[in-house]
């Protein structure tokens, strides 16, 4: 079976890869490109651990084929920090200990960043609904929600 040649942009870098037709974008990111920050939780779109953005839209990379990435712009957790400089959400998650085991964290950070780009001043309810597709089995969510709310407040003050 011949593999599919895909030309795409990942975290701003022009990228080419070969993949099987069955391979999900998540498989490609982790196994072909070594971008293992994106996690596999359920593989069925229920847990959000594999969240990435495609042309600016938040999606589960387990529910998308690698071949579909042709010509698209993908952003993963690896594209969140600028060099050594962490994104305000990343800093706040560390500061407020908004994580425990960490498996859900990359997906939650990518999803929260996507929310704050659209809505810099979300209500707690809006944050909770936006992140309803990101499951965390450790924290009970409270610290995560508070970290997102505080980051939003900081970013509004800074802008």
């Amino acid at each position: 079976m011949s593999r599919i040649h895909v030309t795409t942009t990942i975290n701003g870098d022009a990228t080419e890869f070969l993949c099987e037709a069955e391979a999900t974008l998540l498989d490609v990111l982790r196994d072909e490109l070594g971008l293992t920050g994106t996690k596999e939780g359920c593989g069925t779109g229920d847990c959000g651990a594999c969240s990435v953005t495609v042309d600016g839209r938040l999606v589960c990379s387990c529910l998308m084929l690698g071949a579909e990435a042709e010509g698209r712009e993908i952003t993963t957790i690896e594209g969140m920090a600028t060099g050594e400089r962490l994104h305000p959400l990343q800093k706040k998650f560390i500061e407020m200990a908004a994580l425990q085991c960490g498996i859900c964290t990359p997906g939650i950070l990518v999803a929260a960043k996507s929310l704050l780009e659209r809505n810099p001043d979300p209500s707690e309810e809006e944050v909770r609904y936006w992140l309803a597709g990101n499951l965390c089995r450790c924290t009970g969510y409270d610290k995560i929600i508070r970290a997102v709310m505080e980051t939003a407040a900081d970013m509004r003050r800074a802008s």
Partner: protein, 287 residues
């Protein structure tokens, strides 16, 4: 398995018709799950998202033509569509998480043919029409006639839905969709109800379409419910008759998500509540 992403309807039809075990990919939120769990083992996947117009919402004859690959999130961001058919947009918006909303489509929800599909009763209430393309050409089929039963559709081999048409909204009309789930978010409808209605200047119902989901093998258009409220103001007596007609028309099963009695009752309750919202919208309420 092979993967093709044709640029035209003709190429897509040729690819689909020429291969047994070919599956259409739009948003992929159902297809990829089936693929991973080996419920399906396709020979070919045809990604229709590169076909011109398939990712667009276009004004047409006072209504809206929604391409088969337009996501729920894109619908929710389209002011004109939200203003005309808020019930359909909300129903689509109830499907899955933010991530799923970034990909899931009306056409996919319809073709997946789940009896509990949220957007389908809303589309049926709206009088939506699916445009189907295939080896024999193009045909339009009312959305109510697309599903045939759980997992089964009226589409023939080589056919796929290229767009969904929502007709022009009549003056003083509104629509709404409500579902019952045992939590607030991220669940499958135990019962769903879509209603579209029009009012005259005295607030009497002049036209109505009432559709129920998850209470039968496919969506049910309840004509007796529409008749129960026609020519009437939606007062307590009219709403009670509407609810009774919906409870009577429901043909649910007992399963882990709800019992027959509960679902019949809830069908009536949701119809009553959805009618109140649709009527408020018909009177100009923007909420």
């Amino acid at each position: 398995m092979r993967f093709e992403a044709p640029r035209s309807v003709e190429e897509a039809v040729t690819a689909l018709a020429g291969q047994t075990g070919a599956h259409v990919l739009a948003g992929g939120t159902d297809l990829l799950v089936k693929l991973r769990s080996e419920m399906i083992e396709p020979e070919l996947i045809v990604d229709i998202k590169r076909i011109k117009g398939v990712r667009e919402i276009a004004a047409e004859k006072g209504g809206w033509r929604i391409g088969a690959a337009v996501s729920g999130a894109e619908m929710g961001e389209h002011a004109g569509l939200v203003a005309d058919w808020p019930g359909v947009v909300e129903a689509a918006g109830l499907i899955g998480s933010t991530q799923v909303q970034g990909r899931a489509t009306l056409a996919g929800n319809l073709c997946n043919a789940s009896p509990a599909a949220d957007s389908v009763p809303a589309m049926v209430a709206a009088g939506a029409v699916a445009r189907i393309v295939g080896p024999e050409g193009t045909r339009d089929l009312a959305v109510i006639d697309v599903p045939k039963g759980p997992g089964k559709t009226a589409l023939a081999r080589g056919e796929f839905i290229v767009s969904i048409f929502l007709p022009a909204k009549a003056p003083r009309s509104g629509d709404a969709y409500l579902r019952f789930i045992p939590r607030t978010e991220m669940d499958i409808a135990v019962v769903g109800c879509g209603i579209s209605l029009s009012l005259d200047e005295a607030d009497r119902v002049t036209a109505a379409r009432v559709a129920l989901g998850a209470v039968g093998p496919k969506v049910i258009l309840v004509e007796a419910a529409a008749e129960a409220i026609k020519r009437r103001v939606l007062d307590e007596a009219a709403l009670a008759d509407l609810a009774a007609a919906c409870s009577k028309a429901a043909t649910p099963i007992d399963d882990k998500r709800g019992t027959v009695d509960f679902r019949r009752h809830v069908a009536g309750v949701l119809a009553r509540r959805a009618a109140v919202i649709a009527a408020a919208r018909a009177k100009g309420d923007k909420a």
